[in-house]
């Protein structure tokens, strides 16, 4: 990432927009953060999208309730701040814009004309904060039920369910909720019929075997043809971001495992790296290498689950039995090292939960030796299979420009031929020390998305092999006062060290006030944690940007005019889990 270039961009914006640029905020996010006026926002977004090395993607759009924040030195006055984070793939850099809003006037112009994927993000901000976007065509709730009252991420909204009476469902309430879930085509600007056909409206989900969880897609059909469709999410909203505001920095780690719930410790990584930035902790090579190794192992288990279900959605019943057998082999290693299967929560602020056990390398080697022939077999039997090819080649294809406009990242982006892998472009946790290739697709279709993941597993195996061969020596905890839990031998020196230890273990570490952000190349795309610390034992605001959210938003743009079986093939090829969408 070039800081000169970013400085030049800031300068040219200031020259063009003058005092519409209110303030440049210093942060630990690694990108320029500009506070801009609401009036100039859309023009500035447009300007950034039209640079010679443009910001092609609206990477994230969220908000912060600033009303309870005490450390706001130098920041413009604001009750709420709306945050726009842009990503330039061509320039490999980021940019953040913030707009200050007052409680009495929570309105902003919509950014949809500039970035089409602002649509869902703006609905989410409306749902969670009650901020309106003027000109948005469908500003309705997206995560909470339509019958909900209040905006959960506001600081004055309750967090716990147990602060209220226990949940009850009455016969009347059931009717009311079911009615509220009824799909009304007119609300979405759809017609019930045209001159020669009556359209059929079909609910796919919220519980459907091909929907991979609690996800609903309403289809407008003319026979087998999908005229239009409306994805409906929020059936899996677990309030993880609100949860972060009442857990200590340390005790939030297990919640991250459950975001992309097949990604295991891969989810811990962006979180602990972002916290370590705030705390100023540098970990040694051993910790970094173990983190890489375990994350790659989880990438393989996640891709194996993908492969099995993807082929099952296409009608092949047996691959899932094979890939789950492989997953079981991976879990033997994972369990021996971390003590748990799916959600180990094994990374710590400044280190790991414990060191690698004796004999780990033998187990890991067994797994690494087991996999390659299996992958070859999957490739030969399935990806070269003419039926699989007929169902997927040139199905639901999109190009790089389309992917970037919709915020698509990860393997789905690389399937279009775009070489953008954070592990190469912005190495974190020591990825620069490993040799591996970034597989690319050509057509960006459902076939390439499947094929590419098989190749990615091979590369992950390569990385793991290098970890086995060259595991550095070292401690599993960084020697730093904010490492949590603190190294035990530091505790027993005198009363001062004992008190410090006690406070840090019971209340958790207090991190300096600042903002930090870490992106990683997670199993399904780019996952990042954007942390705001207000100098306390808890996070002031934790924003979790997940890759699957934009991937689902893109579905209607792709499927209009497609056929139902293609839709199923596409759903199988996206690789999403609902926790990674709704959080």
């Amino acid at each position: 990432m070039s800081t000169d270039q970013s400085a030049a961009t800031v300068e040219s914006l200031t020259a063009r927009f003058g005092d519409q640029i209110r303030y440049e905020q210093p942060t630990l996010t690694g990108m320029p953060v500009l506070w801009v006026s609401r009036e100039a926002l859309v023009d500035i977004l447009e300007a950034l999208r039209c640079l010679p090395e443009p910001f092609e993607m609206l990477y994230d759009l969220t908000a912060i309730d600033e009303r309870m924040r005490s450390h706001r030195d130098g920041l413009p006055a604001a009750d709420f701040t709306v945050v726009y984070q842009l990503l330039s793939v061509s320039g490999n850099r980021d940019f953040m814009l913030k707009v200050a809003l007052s409680e009495h006037d929570l309105t902003l112009p919509t950014a949809i004309p500039v970035y089409p994927n602002a649509d869902w993000y703006e609905r989410e901000v409306w749902d969670m904060f009650g901020i309106r976007f003027a000109g948005h065509p469908n500003l309705r709730r997206i995560l909470m039920p339509p019958t909900w009252n209040g905006h959960p991420l506001r600081k004055d909204h309750h967090a716990r369910a147990t602060e209220f009476d226990p949940y009850t469902l009455t016969v009347e309430g059931q009717d009311k909720e079911q009615q509220a879930l009824q799909f009304v085509p007119e609300d979405w600007g759809m017609k019930r019929h045209n001159d020669d056909t009556d359209f059929m409206f079909l609910n796919l989900g919220p519980n459907h075997p091909s929907a991979h969880g609690a996800f609903r897609l309403v289809l407008q059909l003319d026979g087998e043809e999908v005229i239009d469709c409306v994805p409906d999410i929020g059936y899996h909203h677990r309030g993880a971001e609100k949860m972060a505001e009442r857990q200590s920095w340390h005790s939030f780690i297990p919640y991250t495992d459950r975001i992309d719930y097949v990604g295991g410790v891969m989810n811990n990584l962006p979180y602990v790296l972002a916290v370590e930035k705030l705390a100023g902790i540098e970990v040694n090579e051993r910790i970094a290498t173990v983190r890489v190794m375990m994350s790659e192992l989880f990438r393989i288990t996640s891709h194996l689950l993908f492969l099995g279900t993807y082929l099952q959605d296409l009608g092949a019943m047996s691959p899932v039995f094979f890939t789950f057998t492989d997953r079981q082999k991976a879990y033997v290693v994972i369990e021996a090292i971390t003590g748990f299967r799916m959600h180990p929560a094994w990374f710590r602020i400044g280190g790991l939960m414990q060191d690698l056990p004796k004999g780990w390398d033998r187990l890991m080697q067994e797994f690494v030796d087991w996999m390659p022939s299996r992958l070859d077999e999957y490739e030969r039997t399935m990806m070269e299979n003419s039926m699989v090819r007929d169902r997927t080649v040139h199905v639901a294809a999109f190009d790089t420009a389309n992917a970037l406009a919709w915020g698509v990242t990860g393997p789905n982006l690389r399937a279009t031929g775009c070489d953008f892998d954070l592990r190469k472009k912005r190495p974190y946790s020591g990825y620069e020390n490993f040799e591996f290739d970034v597989p690319l697709g050509t057509n960006g279709d459902a076939f390439d998305r499947g094929q590419l993941r098989i190749e990615e597993m091979r590369q992950s195996l390569r990385i793991i092999q290098q970890c086995i061969d060259r595991m550095p020596e070292g401690d599993y905890k960084a020697d730093h006062p904010l490492t949590t839990p603190p190294p035990r031998d530091k505790m027993l020196q005198h009363i001062e060290t004992l008190i410090t230890h006690f406070l840090q273990v019971s209340w958790g570490p207090v991190l300096p006030a600042n903002e930090s952000l870490q992106m990683v190349e997670a199993t399904k795309g780019i996952n990042s944690y954007y942390l705001t610390s207000d100098h306390s034992a808890m996070s002031y605001r934790t924003r979790i940007r997940t890759p699957s959210f934009p991937h689902l938003q893109q579905i209607p743009a792709l499927m209009r005019g497609g056929f139902v079986p293609d839709l199923i093939a596409h759903l199988g090829s996206i690789d999403f889990v609902m926790a990674d969408v709704d959080r």
């Binding site: 967090a159 919220p206 056990p357």
Partner: protein, 226 residues
């Protein structure tokens, strides 16, 4: 053994009634009363009941329904390494109307609850519910505005499987416990014969059953080697 009796009088429910519908009461083993009437028909009914229950418990068709992470461990139990077919429960149905039991595998969200209720209502009697994982049991680690604190707030649950997520083996044990409880059940043998109530046996909790043995363990293996 004590039983819980539910009668099928919930067909016309009041608007204000809350789920789960129907009244529950604790009763004695209904077979005992039969035996008082006539030793012969009592025995006959006993044999018939056991035979029907034996058939039911060994051909449980699960509903393919998942909510979140726990569902992944549930599917793991369905695949080759764990092989749920050993217990006759491998015929996964995609429609609630064909399924015998539903596993609430995952978090029960406020937005999803009415949908779960609808799906449960679409299943035909006899039907059972396994609550898999701490989220479904009690809300688990998600005491948060959007999560119902346990699916038993509106569904009648037969077996609770603890864990976050439970291992596939734990799910299989839950399935076997459900089978054990089905073996003890008393249901109407026909819609014209006898009492129309459903008698469910109150099974003892595994925690109580195994507590004595478990607290014997004083030393656990260290995690320092594999």
């Amino acid at each position: 053994m004590a039983y819980t009796l539910t009668r099928a009088n919930d067909a016309v429910a009041q608007q204000s009634a809350s789920y789960p519908l129907g009244e529950r009461q604790r009763v004695e083993d209904p077979m005992k009363q039969q035996v008082h009437r006539s030793v012969f028909t009592g025995k006959l009914e006993d044999v018939l009941n056991s035979t029907v229950n034996w058939g039911r418990k060994n051909s449980l068709w699960p509903y393919n329904f998942g909510l979140s992470c726990c569902y992944v461990e549930m599917t793991t139990a369905f695949t080759a390494p764990h092989d749920v077919a050993r217990f006759g429960a491998e015929v996964i149905r995609a429609s609630p109307r064909q399924a015998d039991f539903m596993v609430i595998a995952g978090t029960c969200f406020v937005k999803m609850a009415p949908v779960i209720q609808q799906l449960y209502d679409q299943m035909l009697e006899p039907k059972w519910v396994i609550s898999m994982g701490q989220c479904a049991n009690s809300g688990g680690m998600y005491d948060i505005y959007s999560v119902v604190q346990g699916v038993d707030k509106f569904l009648p649950v037969d077996v609770y499987v603890p864990g976050c997520p439970p291992r596939p083996e734990a799910f299989l044990q839950g399935l076997q416990l459900l089978q054990d409880s089905i073996q003890e059940e008393r249901r109407p043998l026909s819609w014209v014969v006898g009492d129309q109530g459903v008698y469910r046996a109150d099974m003892s909790s595994q925690r109580e059953k195994h507590r004595d043995r478990r607290i014997q363990a004083t030393e656990l293996r260290t995690p320092d080697s594999v």
